[in-house]
């Protein structure tokens, strides 16, 4: 009887093999490759393993926010700026050169045309899981038409470096003592403006939202301002304690980048600010 039962069980196991799982994945028609797709392939995917999504893909978007796709004609000039102001400076400065970006950059870069609006603020960029960076407001940057001002460019590239800073932090944590320099983080960060936040030792209002934001805000401000501009910014803070806090935080970020990633922030700042100047002076 035991043998019979086993036979039955065996039959049960084999009799349904006809229904073996086949390819049931969602297959949708693929849009043919364009010149832009080929350029992205040779400029981002092959050298750095970055997949760039510029066509609308609702799976990659937050359904809670209304956004729109980018204008196709703005995508290549925008990505060229990403290359010049983000990837290339790190490659020039990192001890491991191009391998640095191959190892640490995001695997997917999503481009969105509009801003992503919240109550009283607009999100310009978003980093997720150390894997994806989403850059919003691409449609604001008609870089080929040379209509974008330096401050706007700087603010945007700061966002880019801010998001990349998150990816670096998500891969290798920074010194937990950083968050104790000022403490005093608050979800109600919009209550203060940048100037007020600086007096308390935060480089921006948003830096006050959490220590992870504070860390990457220091990083992104520091490397997108020339030495002169940076000294001017710090000098504009009236509170001596506020200045001191920001200096301590900056030292912490500089050490982290040097010791953890082999990136000299002073040199990186030189590369980035020069790249921004070139873009501005090309106009």
């Amino acid at each position: 009887m035991r043998l019979f039962v086993l036979s039955c069980l065996f039959l049960l196991a084999v009799s349904c093999r006809e229904d073996a799982i086949t390819n049931s994945g969602v297959e949708t028609p693929a849009a043919p490759e364009t010149e832009l797709d080929r350029w992205i392939d040779t400029t981002f995917r092959i050298p750095y393993n970055i997949r760039v999504e510029y066509r609308w893909n609702s799976d990659a978007m937050d359904p809670g926010h209304t956004t729109v796709p980018p204008r196709e004609e703005l995508v290549q000039p925008f990505l060229q700026a990403v290359l010049n102001v983000w990837l290339n400076p790190y490659i020039q400065v990192a001890e491991t050169g191009a391998d640095f970006m191959k190892d640490y950059t995001c695997r997917q870069l999503n481009l969105v045309g509009s801003g992503s609006y919240n109550q009283g603020s607009v999100t310009l960029g978003l980093a997720k899981n150390g894997y994806t960076i989403t850059l919003y407001t691409v449609n604001w940057f008609d870089l080929a038409a040379n209509t974008v001002k330096k401050e706007t460019l700087r603010e945007y590239f700061r966002t880019m470096h801010h998001e990349f800073g998150h990816i670096l932090n998500q891969r290798k944590p920074y010194d937990p003592n950083f968050q104790r320099i000022t403490g005093n983080y608050s979800a109600d960060w919009t209550a203060l403006n940048d100037k007020q936040a600086r007096e308390l030792g935060f480089i921006s209002a948003y830096a006050r939202s959490a220590d992870v934001e504070d860390f990457v805000e220091i990083l992104s401000y520091y490397i997108t301002y020339s030495d002169e501009e940076w000294q001017q910014l710090i000098g504009s803070i009236q509170s001596v304690r506020g200045q001191e806090y920001i200096r301590l935080k900056t030292q912490s970020v500089v050490s982290y980048m040097k010791n953890t990633y082999g990136v000299d922030l002073l040199r990186l700042r030189g590369e980035i600010t020069t790249a921004i100047e070139i873009m501005v002076n090309d106009k």
């Binding site: 049960l12 297959e27 028609p29 043919p32 609308w56 209304t66 196709e72």
Partner: protein, 422 residues
Amino acid sequence: MRYLVCFLLLTSMVACQNETQVFEQEPVERRQAFFERFQAALIAPGKGWIMQYFPTGGESAGHNLFMNFNATYEVTMGASHAFTSNVYAEHVSRYGLTVEGAPVLHFTTYNAVLHSFSDPDLNEAAGDFEFIIADFTTDFIRLKGKRHNADVCLTRLDDTDGEEYIRRAEATKNALFALRSPALRLRVGDRAYTFGEGHTSVFKIREEGADSVRNMAYIALPDGFRLYAPFEAGDAKVQTFRWNDDRSLLICSDAGVNAAIGSSVDDATAFFLSSLEMNSSYSWNVQPAALHGVFADAYARINASYQTQNQAFDGFVLTYKPGIQGLALSFKGRNAATPHEGAIGINLALEAGFADRVRFTDRNAADANGQRFLNNYDGARDFLSALCAGSYTVTVESPLQLSKFKFASDLNPDDRFELTLY
């Protein structure tokens, strides 16, 4: 143990029962076949498609968007709306087909013609640019907005270019629904409904004798209009209306429905006269391009006279002017960038014994600028004299278009002019 054996035998029999093959193809193959058929319809020869697009469903204006798809997933879109500065413009972008529970047509790169309605940088972002494909044939596609659930349809253009279609639809809207045009009246059986506020692109519909008002957006067609959704009028459901041959009515073209829209005004000339009664805020433009006979001659001389004084004449308007306590033939002009205007008092009355004849008379009540105008500009006094000479027969192109009236002199029918409402 016996029960266990029976159970296992039973289970194995059930498990191995042949499944009935409902479809000949695998789901993936069927999906691909669907997309191939759908794209074949999209790109089939013709002049493209018109998308009847209601960004917020039935709550705001519908827009005609021209779309021409190609096999390489490019789409040319054209429209004339606020986001194109109300000038017809075309832009090229990309579209895609995907599956998100249901097959979806989405527009994957930005096109100002469509995405502007959803762009949070521009407005409150109420529109859709991703659509579930609900149904399609070779000349009609029904879509459902993915985010806002709006019903959208595409109709194939075979004979008319997209731009021409949109131009004609706009002309229909302007003709039927000029600002201050009187409401239309729908009759279905023994029920009647007024369709008001057409110029806002959203009708206020009220059953005559009832108080409640229902809002319903519509989209203009080259030969009529279509409501966003069927409107329930008693037992009938009406949605699409098209001109009849003499353009006196809009006939419901929905299958099995006997309904028509006419004017809510029974007497066009009486409406015109009432629009110019004391304290009325109606104004009627004298159309320069529609002046004939003595009017054309006098108007040309006024223009020339302005030019010799290095000024520009901007035309006449017929309206009530409190400053001269009555109806006025008012005029506007410019000296470089400095505008001026004046008023010449006239009277207007129905000609005794006629329902469609009116007579203008000079009240000798011009304001100071009006006096200067009559004294200093060649042709001005002749224009006024011609207007006040004899009676005029009043006609309208259609009782549905009470925004344009034609006046022909009963003394000499070649002396004609037109007034348009604004």
